[in-house]
């Protein structure tokens, strides 16, 4: 439990002071609340002794207690929300900032989905419950502690017993939490298995159905569900005894207090009024402690959420703070570049040069390293060893933004912002005029379909580009690149023939974009790369052949094989 508290404090960052302040205020509140006992003690003394004279101090203490608590609560609510909001806002901004330093290659659907979930859902959970939870738990313990202190004033022996009770309860809570966290991994494995089974079931459904195998598959899934149900149940059962222990501690200490006060009273070492006070206290004392203990489960979940948010800090970052440089020319060289992804070596000592304004086609089997080669050029990742140069300078010398000024990438998958089409295109050059935007759109064969949209260039693109077709989105992204007018174009040639008509326009757009530029392209249609100035055949992370089409076709090797197979593929007819 203390671990989680520490975590929350760590999470608070620069708001630690505010958090401490909130805690101090809530402790003051606890002290005010304990004053009620003082009033009760006074009242009992007087009632039992038959005097009515000292009524005023009792009322005064009660008044102070109530007002003090109102005040403390009033301020602590404020502080809590502020801490909750500000520390989460800080974290959100921190993550947002960090994303700028994470290598581009790290981003994929999965990781982006994960980060999005953290920034929205997970952090909202923390925002809503962190401070409340903290105050409930810490406040609960503090309240009990303050009450014990008040009891100590009345009778130190009883105060001691009370404090012992808190400590034992803390211990029991800690132990039960340990037991819970021990079952955590088991529960998680069961959960993961279940998720996998469900996913498998759903993804394989089309196959299963089309082969009429519903029954078998159903049984398999049912078995997994059954197993996970049993597993969670047995895990839950292993925690139950601890719950009993916690309850036992609370009830036990209440009883001990009752018995002790009676014994002390009968032994003559305690006044009747004190004894009655202790009897009352024995049942009130641990009430808050109990709700604090129950809340500690929520605290545990909170800890998990915080871990999830912090895990984004574990992603790799790279140093993007190079210098603002302009390259001498748009030539690219790879010198002995090696790159691994996890354990898998993707590129192994690759060297080549791309002179300015030439076209280089990269071909080869899938998994050969084509995409990685392109991504390294745009510094989506940093190389493991070797150097990549742009205009004769190591690309890591450039500030990332100034490197990216030189490179446009045309991907098959396109992300458009939920903004107007004009602004989406303008993204390539924020200070472009409307006329320039239209010009770029015309060159990228977008103008026509944009004008057909209800608001033309002011049409807002639906979420993730909803209402546009894949080809149209891609052409808008080309218009964007066109406006950017970078000297180097990295192109992942579309393999998917969207539909012939669309494709012709797409190719016209790419044609316009690539005019007079340095081009690296991942080529899937060998016919289209015949005219490339240089062809790199990449296989197993190495360049196995290089040259022009005319040179390579005459060599025996992968390229000639590919060409042969490709011809076969195209010439093949269904008959």
């Amino acid at each position: 439990m203390f671990g989680v508290l520490k975590k929350i404090f760590g999470f608070a960052g620069s708001k630690k002071k505010l958090l401490t302040k909130a805690m101090v205020i809530s402790f003051c509140g606890a002290v005010f609340s304990a004053m009620q006992f003082g009033a009760l003690m006074l009242a009992l003394d007087q009632v039992l002794s038959g005097q009515q004279a000292g009524m005023l101090p009792v009322i005064a203490i009660l008044l102070i207690s109530v007002l003090g608590r109102i005040l403390c609560f009033y301020y602590s609510v404020n502080e809590e929300t502020e801490v909750g909001y500000f520390m989460v806002a800080e974290k959100r901004i921190h993550i947002g900032d960090r994303l700028r330093y994470i290598p581009m290659g790290y981003f994929n659907d999965n990781s982006l989905g994960n980060i999005t979930a953290v920034v929205t859902t997970t952090l909202s959970e923390v925002e809503n419950s962190a401070s409340r939870c903290l105050v409930m738990v810490v406040g609960g313990f503090l309240n009990t502690f303050a009450l014990c202190l008040a009891l100590t004033v009345a009778d130190w022996r009883m105060g001691l017993i009370g404090i012992c009770g808190i400590l034992v309860y803390l211990w029991a809570t800690e132990m039960s939490q340990k037991a819970t966290s021990k079952t955590g991994p088991g529960r998680q494995t069961a959960q993961i298995n279940l998720v996998e089974a469900v996913l498998e079931y759903i993804q394989g459904m089309s196959v299963v159905k089309s082969y009429g195998l519903e029954k078998d598959n159903d049984q398999m899934a049912a078995r997994t569900i059954e197993e996970s149900c049993k597993k969670t149940l047995s895990l839950e059962a292993s925690i139950t005894p601890w719950m009993a222990v916690r309850q036992l501690v609370i009830r036990g200490f209440s009883v001990i207090m009752v018995v002790c006060s009676l014994v002390f009273y009968s032994g003559g070492t305690m006044l009747l009024s004190r004894c009655l006070l202790m009897l009352i206290a024995s049942f009130i004392l641990y009430q808050e402690l109990e709700s604090a203990g129950n809340m500690s489960d929520t605290l545990q979940m909170l800890g998990a959420s915080i871990d999830k948010a912090n895990s984004i800090d574990d992603t790799p970052v790279m140093d993007i703070d190079g210098k603002e440089l302009a390259p001498k020319d748009a030539g690219i060289t790879f010198e002995n570049v090696t790159f691994s992804y996890g354990d898998r070596r993707i590129l192994d000592g690759v060297s080549f040069a791309i002179p300015e304004k030439t076209t280089t086609a990269v071909v080869g089997p899938s998994g050969g390293g084509k995409t990685t080669l392109c991504n390294l050029t745009a510094r989506f990742w940093d190389v493991e060893s070797g150097t990549i140069r742009l205009g004769g300078r190591d690309i890591t010398d450039y500030k990332l933004d100034s490197l990216m000024k030189n490179i446009s990438m045309v991907f098959q998958e396109v992300y458009l912002f939920q903004d107007t089409i004009e602004n989406n295109i303008k993204f390539g050059k924020p200070d472009a005029s409307h006329a320039q935007v239209v010009e770029a759109a015309k060159a990228a064969c977008c103008h026509e379909f944009i004008m057909e949209l209800p608001n033309g260039y002011d049409t807002v693109v639906g979420e993730a580009g909803g209402s546009l077709s894949g080809g149209e989105k891609q052409r808008i992204s080309i218009a964007r690149a066109m406006l950017k007018d970078a000297p180097i174009i990295i192109l992942d040639e579309a393999t998917a023939s969207v539909d012939p008509e669309n494709e012709a326009e797409l190719q016209a757009a790419i044609d316009a974009l690539t005019h007079d530029k340095t081009i690296i392209m991942i080529a899937h249609r060998l016919k289209t790369v015949r005219s490339a100035d240089q062809i790199l055949v990449l296989s197993g992370g190495q360049i196995v052949q290089r040259g022009t089409h005319a040179e390579l076709i005459r060599q025996e090797g992968l390229y000639a094989d590919f060409i042969g197979e490709r011809k076969e593929a195209i010439g093949w007819k269904l008959a």
Binding site: L62, Y74, R92, I202, S206, L272, G364, M409, A569, I570
Partner: protein, 591 residues
Amino acid sequence: MKKESSLQKLFDYAGNYRYLTISSWILSVISAWIALVPFYYIWKIVNEVLQVLPDFGKAVHLSRYGWSAVGFALLSMLIYICALMCSHIAAFRVQANMRSQTMRHIITLPMGFMDGIGSGKIRKIVNESSEATETYLAHQLPDRAGAMATPVGLLVLLLVFDWRLGLLSLIPVVIAFLIMGSMTGNEMKEKMAQYQNSLEEMSNEAVEYVRGVPVVKTFGQSVFSFKRFKEAIDSYGKWVISYTKDLRLPMVMYTTMINAVFSVLIAAAFLFTANGITNTFLLNLIFYIMITPIITVTLNKIMFSSENTMIVEDAIARIDSVMSIKPLEETETPQSPKGTSITLEQVSFRYQDAAKDAVHKVSLCIKEGEHVAFVGPSGGGKTTLASLIARFWDASEGKICIGGVDVRQIASRELMNTVSFVFQDSKLLKMSILDNVRMGKPDASKAEVLQALTDAGCDDILAKMPEGVDTIIGSRGTYVSGGEAQRISIARAMLKNAPILILDEATAFADPDNEAKVQEAFARLSKGKTVIMIAHRLSTITGTDRIYVLKDGRIEEQGSHDALEKQEGLYAHMWTEYNKSANWKVGGALS
């Protein structure tokens, strides 16, 4: 009303375990009431002490009362633990039942359903939504039953011992409730809605920022974009703070009130004892002071429990959204198709919530053994039309017959045995290659499976797998590319050997090596069968018996390649464009 209906639904899933849930409530209520008994014994103890004053030795029942108090406290605890055990068993059972029922339902749904909703979303519904009910059933409901029973028990106790004090201690509680009412009033609701809106806006902005990061970075716009993101967070912050400020006063008042009982009682003590004090009164006062904090605790419990109810309602609504989709109807008098001809008469189909038909009044006739192709622009209806023939959906209008029998009159198993569908993105299940292929014919021998794999040109795939045909797909180091997956699924279709074959040509192949092999395998598989090919590359289908050109859900043209080329219509245009694009070159140097 709504709460009841969601509980009713949970009960439906629980089956007989619902009684376990109900028992958990009853036990929880009993436990809550028994928990009050120790207070009564404390009262007895104090009572006896006061009775025998000052001769303490006469108080002979003290230890018995003391132990009774302890006994009942323990009993209450034990019963509570029993209640939780019952509720947990029932909760996990409900969860498991929800999952298996949802999944069993999903498999009866039209196959096209998956495309509409997406597997990620379904997984979320099946797993997470059912999980959301766990805390609700296991903890929330029994606790709430206990929390509601406690005030009833208390009320009885309070009024029995001294009704004046009882009423007094209730006053702050009533006021607290009134304040709580004002907190949930209309004005507050509106503020709450505004707060939710601003939260949503901030979330959207965050999603946009994170999703857009790759683009932002490639365009070197990270500073600008980051600024927007930060602004969104700041403006959301303003709402949060102002909302809290508005809520602060009533919250403080509410908390003060439910905590004020203690003070009210002590103050009252002076009022009532102005004319001298009786032992009974003192005793009752102490008793009240002891017992009223329980009200505070229970009230707080009830207040915070409404949050979870909403989550559960949402979860159930989500599961219902799947469960309410109707499965395809299975005929009661199945007929067998005579032959493998395919006829469509005026077939229309519209996707749910779509504005227009995906397939509109299509009629066609494919004779037994013919090879035909569907071509046309994307979104033209090719895949939908093919899916209708395999009855992944039921047509909204018109009739589809295989071998002269309406597909709706054919038993689904028989239909599946008649039609093989090779998907564009072939899904392999996480089992060995052998088992994956064997799905095509569960009783096939290993030799048969190997033969089918060879026929589908998969030998090179097997060769590179660490354990050959026994390699589990998806295990470490076994990467299967899209083209390879499709070849394995062709092997599966070969083993199944259904007389009608629907092939969805994959659009994306990473390398030509695979493509050539896939097409060879296709060719072998098609021999002697009725074949429908959904084609994306026109060069692959020039030799088919007939080509249907689909556009906007209608058949625009039909005929052989040569005939269509001469017509100078859509197909001829596509053919020219296709050839142009196949010859297209980067830089435009040779075009």
